[in-house]
Amino acid sequence: MEDLKTFLIDKVLLFESDTLPPESEKKLQQIRREKPANPVIYVSSGTSSVIAGSEKTLSAIETYISENSPLVEVINVGCNGPANFEPLVCIHIPGKNKLFFRNITEEKVEPLLNGVFHNDINEDDLAGQTGTKGFELWPGIPFMDQLPFFTHQKRVVLGNCGCYDPESIEEYIARGGYRAYIKAIRHYTYEEVCDVIERSGLRGRSGGGYLTGLKWKHALNTSSNARYLICNAKESDPGAFTDRTILESDPHRLIEGIAIASYAIGASNAIVFMRSGSEHAQNRLQKAIDRAREYGLFGHNIYSSGYNLDIIIRKEPGAFVCGEETALINTLEGKRGMPQLKPPYPTTSGLFGKPTVINNVETLINVPLIMQNGPEWFRSMGTEKSPGTKVFAVAGKGRMSGVVEIEMGTSIRTILEDIADGIREGKEFKAIQLGGSSGSFLTKDDLDIPIDYETLREKGIGMGAGGFVIIDENTCMVDLVRYYMEFIRNESCGKCIPCREGTGRMLEILESVIRKPLNEDSGTTLERFKGVMQLETIASVMKDTSLCGLGQTAPNPFLSALKNFRDEFEEHIFDRKCRANICRGLRSFSIDVDKCTGCTACASKCPVNAIYGTRLQPFFIVEEKCIGCGICFDICKFSAINVK
């Protein structure tokens, strides 16, 4: 073990030339397990895999291996991408291509391994094969990268995800890791690193799209005795899990990115601000940081470069608004996480009043790649103004879901129709929600919009942090808007009035729309519609006057839903109808005379005594009294209650 460490440090990390001598390459090839002597089994172990049961799969595989063929190596890897294939198991038999098997739950392990080792593969479990030259092909099995899910992607940032053991620093170094960092601290000045990143045109991936290199220069040019780098891994939008996947699958590259960024601004302290509830990712990152420290990559006078750096992890105490830069700084200082007026920007006066750069996980993980391959390489991807790639967490009602990476400029249709493979169960497409609680809804007409900062801004759509939720016809847009508004109302910090009161009022009005009116006076409907009209005014005031991004973008889901699905709002108000049958308050209930046995269960539970009848005779519901709570429907054992 010690030998390996010295080899990796002396012969690889500190090796001056970019191309290593053949004998070193050969050893690295071994560490990368490119040509293994014995079979290797890779089991995915990201959160989405664990949820699908990969831990049980892993222990079943280990038991099988110890009983049958102890020479086989079992490796935990990160997430490969397709979440609906989890638990994903990859088997590499020496001399042959790697085989991927999907949905390998605990009970499937034994038949699968029996089959593979005796050349009798069950085709139902197969996902595909991957291979390099010199390996024997599996006849008749599709290649993984020819699956529509992968062909339309460009996996650069996610390139390492699912390929190596995220807890092994050796493997990361063998894949070329940490060399860009060592080169930067030994041969580059602060400004040169900033220059490279600026020339690459890398823009902040958290939604704002500010030039990263420029941001770094602002901090670097502010004179101060200390500077800080903060990696914002707070991602807690409902439906976003890109950063977490990166943290779990490739923590070392993120650490390298943080280290290079810290060097570029001359910071000797870096902080990773983690979201709570992702202990798995946090443990992985902590382990990775500890391993990197063992390799002397942090600490005092790193590899005699004269540069000092320390990285710590701070866990978020639970407030959505902490993701905002100034609120995040307040939290780290031990105060309430409330945003502050900008300027001064954190780059001039941030944590403890010192210049601070806050970058998102996805931004930082691009940095080592740019340092390795040069800014021109980065510019060759994407569009002119938005170079590079973007990672999205595709979820919702698509056939495929998971973390995907596309080149900037790819159309939304490509993600929806090719990568996600359309809508599940043959349902009709309704909308796409881009960018979480502060994002907008896109409809059929918007599908050909290319994804890049300029076009999206022109259309008034926020890029967001990477949420891409596919919505089908079974979803009620009014209810979904209410859901987002409730989330924001709960998370508003309460500092500025437009956001605190505005979100509360908007939620109240939206709730009144999906509730059944108490009486049928002619004025009620009008009043309710007036409420919706007022929503537009409230929304514009919130947009103009809120202090931070949370309040300014809070009305986005509502505004875009009203623009694209106005008929649904009107239907709720005038016809009291929810076409997706989601809004419980608007449903009308009746009892099927033939099925009702007169058991009195529903009548005794009805909160407004709207159900009448004689015992052992069919009951009936008085519609004027019914409030549409649905308790009778839930309680009936004979499915005698009809819903309309």
Binding site: G46, T47, S48, V50, I51, A52, G53, A83, N84, E86, S236, D237, P238, G239, A240, F241, R244, T245, S276, G277, S278, R314, K315, E316, P317, G318, A319, F320, T331, L332, E333, G334, K335, R336, G337, F352, A393, A395, G396, K397, S401, G402, Q433, G436, G467, V469, I471, T475, L480, Y483, F487, C493
Partner: protein, 156 residues
């Protein structure tokens, strides 16, 4: 109890304001909640008034001031789970357990919280019981699950 607190306090030798949140987090991890005693002690340690600490701790969702239940249930309410019907799951659990999110039942057995996204979107709605994930949960399965959990507690 006092000694556990002292051990944690010792880790933060300098006792600065910015240590407050990590300190409270660590205490909560150790004790399961923030007791009054702990907050008073942290206050005198950092030289901060107790009101200030309460003011900070109540701002954040993840601090609890009552012990959580023996069985902790986390329900995912991310967009994807919401589309798949997490609201009915939340209502059903509320009905079965009889307390609201963030509270603990009187017998100290159950507590539940709603979280924004667990990251298993394809398998929603998701419910996590003491670290164990339940996927594709349906409201009608819940009474059975709660019954089973109650049985486990009683026989423990």
């Amino acid at each position: 109890m006092g000694t556990e607190l002292d051990i944690i306090l010792k880790k933060f030798k300098q006792g600065k304001r910015e240590d407050l949140i990590p300190l409270l987090q660590e205490i909560q991890e150790e004790l399961g909640y923030l007791s009054e005693e702990a907050i008073v002690k942290v206050g005198s340690f950092l030289g901060l008034s107790t009101t200030k600490i309460y003011g900070l701790a109540t701002f954040y969702d993840k601090f609890h001031f009552i012990p959580s239940g023996k069985i902790q249930i986390r329900i995912c309410n991310g967009t994807s789970c919401f589309l798949n019907g997490s609201l009915t799951i939340i209502n059903k659990i509320k009905e079965e357990i009889g307390v609201s999110a963030g509270q603990t039942t009187r017998d100290g057995n159950f507590s539940y919280e709603i979280v924004s996204c667990m990251g298993g979107c394809h398998n929603g709605p998701l419910v996590n019981v003491n670290g164990q994930y339940h996927t594709h949960v349906k409201a009608e399965q819940l009474p059975e699950l709660i019954k089973k959990l109650k049985y486990i507690i009683e026989n423990d």
